[in-house]
Point group: D2
């Protein structure tokens, strides 16, 4: 049976989401369900390009990291999630005040998990999808990756 996530697991993932590089980028978890993870970032000038667009690298970071946490919602606590690869298409320029990312697990095998991430640019009065990614992840028992 598909059990739903415990409150403790949701709180853990919400906190664990924003550490290291992700904290440096200002990303925050905003919604956590089994197979789904959403995140948000308020855009500042340090997120932009020389032409004032939101940088593709920030969007890629958000697409990858949020997909990883969507995968975390599908595995038990002793597993870590590694990104094998991802691909992201930039559909139109992003220049708004905030970004939102919605990641969903599309397929879960014993080890390989495939997720999609959709990124939305939040402008004054509406939001529009600006990027779409497919991310291939791998669930690995924690003792196999002792950390660096």
């Amino acid at each position: 049976v598909r059990t739903s996530l415990t409150r403790e697991r949701i709180e853990f993932l919400t906190e664990d989401y924003r550490r290291g590089f992700i904290k440096h980028c200002g990303l925050e978890a905003v919604r956590v369900k089994r197979g789904l993870f959403e995140s948000h970032v308020l855009i500042g000038t340090h997120h932009r390009t020389q032409d004032n667009f939101i940088h593709a690298g920030l969007m890629a970071t958000m697409a990858d990291h949020t997909a990883g946490y969507a995968a975390f919602t599908m595995v038990s606590e002793e597993f870590r999630i590694l990104t094998i690869e991802f691909k992201i298409n930039f559909l139109k320029p992003a220049f708004g005040d905030a970004l939102r990312c919605r990641s969903r697990v599309m397929s879960k095998g014993r080890q390989i998990i495939v997720a999609t991430s959709k990124l939305y640019d939040m402008r004054k009065d509406h939001e529009t999808r600006v990027a779409e990614a497919i991310i291939t992840l791998m669930a690995v028992p924690g003792e196999k990756i002792a950390g660096a």
Copy 2:
């Protein structure tokens, strides 16, 4: 004929490389030739994951941005470069003290430019390739993208 880059163009691209999000991430240009761009970043704790690896998002940012500047070396000054999409494979965990990225233009059409980026993890006594990306870019006349 394939002219080489002027010293002014090299200086411009080297400075222009590190603005906004790229400055926030600490990336620096280190080598510029026609069709080739190399960058470098010293790794701090704000670049790492909760497991102390270098974050995939930083590597993706470096792969994308450096490829974009490799493309810049192939077009005249009135063009801007947009990323259409990219794909990146993470070949092994990265946990060293610095990253290096080497981007090369593989194919240049009238509008579409395809580049590859190779990322190297610089550890105590050696370096090892940790990621490889293919990036599809588009050269657009500057007046068509007025900025945000």
Copy 3:
């Protein structure tokens, strides 16, 4: 305004879909709407691998070609569609009696069109999604590609 397709255009695209390599592979168009294209193939032993699975190459061909025709439904008749690149994930082994592909245009710029293709393996009593692709296409005026 978004006009719907004429009956003539639908008939043309349905016929044009299955020529050359696509005819050799046995693919057929089964549904055509603005922004949407569906195709079908009955699987024979000449579509399989040495292990009797449906070959990934057939699925990639179907994902690419059907996405191209989904793009055709969005442009006027003088345009041709070229594939710039695509990426496909194989979610589970396919071994059924037929494949179905549903391609949708996700984003249409002036030149660049991005589509997704979902592939379904049709087994005795049910069907299951076996692959998902993102395809980047380019609309080019027909006179610019005179053919080979």
Copy 4:
């Protein structure tokens, strides 16, 4: 130590390469070394598009299948190779009389193998690279995939 392949293994892989869909497409193995696999196909009208170019689907099939056999050269005989995903860029139109594909293993982990495939269009008096792919593969013990 890296042992080289036995003559028997090379003969087996050369024969095994062209079965089912690959035979239907006319692809042939032409060179086999540890970590490297090359293939070839003579182009007929049944490989082309409605515009007389070589079909992207044939190139994708060749890129995927040849990469899979490059991976086969790196594992022992009880393993099978599955494609997890691939991405291919089409660098210029292909319209020649034959295609050649060179696939190399770029990275080999315990389970995950990453390879690249380069495709060359063989025209009257020269050849030119027309596509480049990255392929993510998985080595799986044969008894785990009993076939369909």
